[in-house]
Amino acid sequence: MSDTRRTPPTLGVGPDVSTRTSNADARAGVMGEPGVGGRFGRFGGRYVPESLVPACVELESAFRLAWSDPSFHAELDGILHSYGGRPTPVTECARLSAQIGVRLLLKREDLTHTGSHKLNNVVGQALLARRMGKQRLVAETGAGQHGVASATAAALFGMTCTVYMGEVDVERQALNVFRMELLGAEVRPVGSGSRTLKDAVNEALRDWVATVADTHYCLGSVMGPHPYPWMVRELQRVVGDEAREQCRVLLDGKDPDIVVACVGGGSNAAGTFAGFADTDAELVGVEAAGGSAVGNGIPGVLHGMASLLLQDEAGQILEAESISAGLDYPGIGPEHAYLADIGRARYEHAGDDEVLAAFQLLARTEGIIPAFESAHALAWVVREAGRAIPHGSTVLVTLSGRGDKDVAQARELLR
């Protein structure tokens, strides 16, 4: 380590590491360790060019070692507490609950530093990169939240950071581009394909093929080749683990009836679901109607993973369509595809109009402006309250991010 690198203070004030799920425990149940080769049933795997296989193997080893190392957890939890603002609260939505007739609780990832759950993942990956001796992060971003989080972690650890972002997203999330640049990252617009998240992932992978010796690919969701879907879920499970304990305090030891989260690749949903997988809570992921990989997808292989993908007859990947740049992805994390397969979670969708309405509704009733992505989860709850969600139910929604980044776009859409 160079002297110029800043080592964040380690406070060790996070959850007791001894209570964490060990690999052996995890294997026993749903959302434990994946099978051989990173399989979740028929999904997952490691479909990468040969050039990247050794790097994926190295990352898997580094993660296994770190994840069983109490000092790694202590440092990670310390940073997420003293720097990231964890634990985030669970908020009762009294007025909105009264309006829709279900008891609505929000897990407030919007209050995490940088404004979304993405920080949980990038701090963990940056620590791993440092352990592997890698000085540069490359990341893809859709809405810009993961890019901002990656740029933030790079600044915190004294690393360089390159963020790939589709040209369409650069335009609709201009403020986040400037944020990343303020944080010292280089943002490279991607002009190929649909010029959105899918293409940003392609370009980040291409960068990584050429730079893997000194670069860590800081993938932002529970997707990509093994070990990413598993590793990112584990790094995000803090969301679900906290929420479960917080709900039990609020609900007299009970769990919510339904746990809801939005799904693009699905990292906030995976982290949330991981905390409730062994409870009786119903798990619901909400995709963008124009990017509904579970609803309309077909098994296939993209970006290193077998999963459900929007594709044509020949296997060409189709473009997702959503007002939310973060959900504009034609696939879904392989574990979500598996949870859908086995029926442990179900996947619904919300359309742009109802999302925009939910975005405004939460702002007016609770004084919280949600990210467009998170508003998908809310939109489904608002639509289904009294229908799929019986009146009187208790529903936990993970509010994955705050809506500041979407305010300019909302103004245009509402004009």
């Binding site: 490691r46 040969e50 007859e313």
Partner: protein, 303 residues
Amino acid sequence: MTEPRAAQRSTGSTGTGEQGAGDITQEMRGVGPTAMGRGHVPPAGRSVGPLERVLRLRRDAGRKLVVPYVTAGVVDGWLDVVRAVVAAGADAVEVGLPFSDPIMDGPTIQQASLVALQRGMTPAMGVAELARADVGVPIVVMTYYNLVFRSGERRFARTLAASGVAGAIVPDLPLEESEGWRAEAGAAGVDDVLLVAPSTPDDRIRRICEACRGFVYGVGVMGVTGERAQLADSARQVARRVRAVTDLPVCVGVGITTPEQAADVCQDADGVVVGSALVRRLLDGGGPDAAAELVAGIREALD
């Protein structure tokens, strides 16, 4: 994909006459072990298809191998480009079936893939056109795994075989994920070409070469396909490391742009794959002659 009707191909043997789908060349039909050259007889029980037979024979005769790459459908008359590069001295031709998200490809082949898709090219069309072509050297199809998976591994392999395609390269299907596909390709008589990268450890190179058929594709540089001003040091190194563990032909691709670079890498490699440099000529408006000129220059530098 639809399966064109074609002659059944005998498989699983290195000897006895091959009944010819495509009737490629005399070389591809029945080349017995005695014709394979000293020390280059494949181990007993190892099935070898026409791609490997032809390339071994030519390599053992002292010839360096030139394998140009053309994206199917990139221009009208792309098959004329294939024929022209064969006439200019290609030993096999790699034909790319365009995919929407080609992560191993740099800007030139990305652009070619996009153009071909916009022109309406599909995997089924590309293979069907190859089935009607009489090219004269083995054809190796290169595509990404989703197109294979979507079609079904068995169906894809059989369609290739029935169309006279001799080999396949699926760059996003590494050793651990390719067992099923390799079995289907082998059963259909299609040689599955695997890649070795500069980052591949030696013990892994050995395992890849044991599973590989046709030739070993040495990735010349850590990076995606594209032209490079300089030949990377890794290009010759990867060739040497592969040759140390196998007698399969070793062709190096990715970053081989000029005849000089080809000659340089062939001090250690058995041959070269040249893609972006050729495809750029097509994208710039050049036709079969422009592609043939490049290949002839490389041929000359290697002979």
